[in-house]
């Protein structure tokens, strides 16, 4: 079955659960910046937690912390990843519990530090500690292919590639796939697809993107304004029952835990419909 499937950690008392089975560390990466890695990490994590999985989200973008904002947790972050690595505080002090789910935690990135400050071996050690306590460790990778990228993939076993239907994003994704360790089988999320434009021949289709990347397709996220509203508010759209984007993230989480969701639709619903409908009645926009 899917590479991500994992046997559940016995969730008995904390601490005893450790070491029984290690969770899966999945890095969310893309090469290019601004394609939706952080939004994807926040929403896939939220959706996994909603399925009852114990999930920790790690912001590996040292120096440019963002994941806390998308999750609406920026006021709760007191310590960060480098505090833990350098032994200033314990892991428990640095983990921030999500407002909405008791299964979901965040380990924030250091904002006033640099990517080069992270030691790769210590990063790997930290990821292993997290895998002892959580079923899924989702690592939000920084853009680029330098130190930050290498540290982010160091402690992971799997990768999700986020790519938008643009020439530059596909080129960078292709480069990143080539840099992942041998033996990995990364899966693809195509983000910000506008099916109406694809239909008119004005946007690369999912098939066009994957003709180049040739990866198993994990999901397709339509482009809708609703995600901007949710990011403004710091409320992951994965919890929005009326959003097509939310539905796409929930479907991805389902596939990650090994649910049979069938083939991924490469022509997601017309963008805007659910959002517009919701905005009309709920005034969310």
């Amino acid at each position: 079955m899917r590479a991500f499937e994992t046997t559940p950690v016995e969730s008995t008392t904390e601490g005893q659960a450790a070491a029984a089975t290690l969770g899966r560390a999945i890095v969310i990466t893309s090469g290019k910046g601004g394609v939706g890695k952080t939004t994807t990490t926040a929403n896939v994590g939220t959706a996994l937690a909603a399925l009852g999985k114990r999930v920790v989200l790690v912001d590996a973008d040292v120096g440019l912390r963002n994941l806390d904002i998308v999750l609406g947790l920026e006021n709760r972050v007191r310590y960060h990843l480098l505090d833990v690595i350098e032994g200033n505080v314990g892991l428990d002090d640095a983990l921030v519990r999500d407002k909405r789910s008791e299964n979901l935690y965040l380990l924030a990135a250091a904002q006033a530090r640099e990517k080069e400050d992270v030691d790769t071996a210590e990063m790997m050690n930290l990821m292993e500690q997290l895998r002892e306590r959580f079923e899924y460790v989702l690592i939000d990778c920084p853009a680029g292919i330098e130190t930050g990228f290498r540290n982010a993939i160091a402690g992971a076993q799997h990768a999700i590639i986020v790519c938008t239907p643009e020439v530059s994003a596909v080129r960078d994704a292709d480069r990143v796939v080539g840099l992942l360790p041998n033996g990995w089988s990364p899966e693809l999320i195509v983000n910000r697809l506008r099916p109406a434009l694809v239909k008119k021949g004005k946007m690369l289709s999912v098939e066009d993107v994957n003709a180049i990347l040739r990866l198993p397709l994990l999901g397709v996220i339509p482009d809708e304004p609703g995600v901007i509203v949710s990011t403004n508010k710091g409320e992951p759209i994965a919890l929005d029952e009326n959003s097509a984007i939310g539905a796409a993230f929930r479907a991805i989480a389902g596939r990650i835990v090994g649910e049979d969701r069938g083939e991924v639709s490469t022509t997601t619903p017309e963008p805007g419909f659910f959002t517009k409908l919701g905005a009309l009645f709920g005034g969310r926009a």
């Binding site: 596909v170 239909k199 004005k202 690369l204 180049i212």
Partner: protein, 130 residues
């Protein structure tokens, strides 16, 4: 005529793949080609020109209707050439002697992409004139 049809708004739905998406697809193909082969676009042009020049030593070809494309195969790139042959040349130079086998075995470098050349005979009737 075909160009006119493509430009005409009335027929647009029949040529929907000709939007900027097609341009993006072609740019993506070319940029990845040079990424994978480490070949700059002008090198690809030079390769085509020399390929045609070599073929022309043996047969009359129609470079205007020749197609040289590169396609992705798994994680490799293959070159496919489809070159219309107009006529077989009778004035071709005597076949060059095959290179002498190397004295010692040279280890071959792993090839990055297969090169295939497909010669498509078109109007063979013309060959009588040559």
């Amino acid at each position: 005529m075909l160009d006119f049809l493509k430009k005409s708004d009335f027929f647009k739905p029949f040529f929907r793949r000709e939007g900027s998406g097609a341009t993006a697809r072609e740019r993506l193909r070319l940029v990845l080609l040079s990424d994978h082969l480490s070949l700059a676009p002008d090198v690809v042009d030079a390769l085509k020109a020399e390929l045609f020049a070599v073929l022309s030593k043996y047969v009359d070809i129609d470079p205007q209707h020749a197609e040289v494309t590169f396609e992705m195969r798994e994680r490799e790139v293959a070159m496919l050439a489809s070159v219309p042959i107009l006529a077989v040349r009778n004035d071709r130079p005597s076949a060059p002697r095959p290179p002498a086998p190397p004295a010692t075995r040279v280890r071959r470098r792993k090839r990055k992409g297969a090169v295939q050349t497909k010669l498509v005979p078109t109007s063979m009737g013309n060959s009588a004139q040559a």
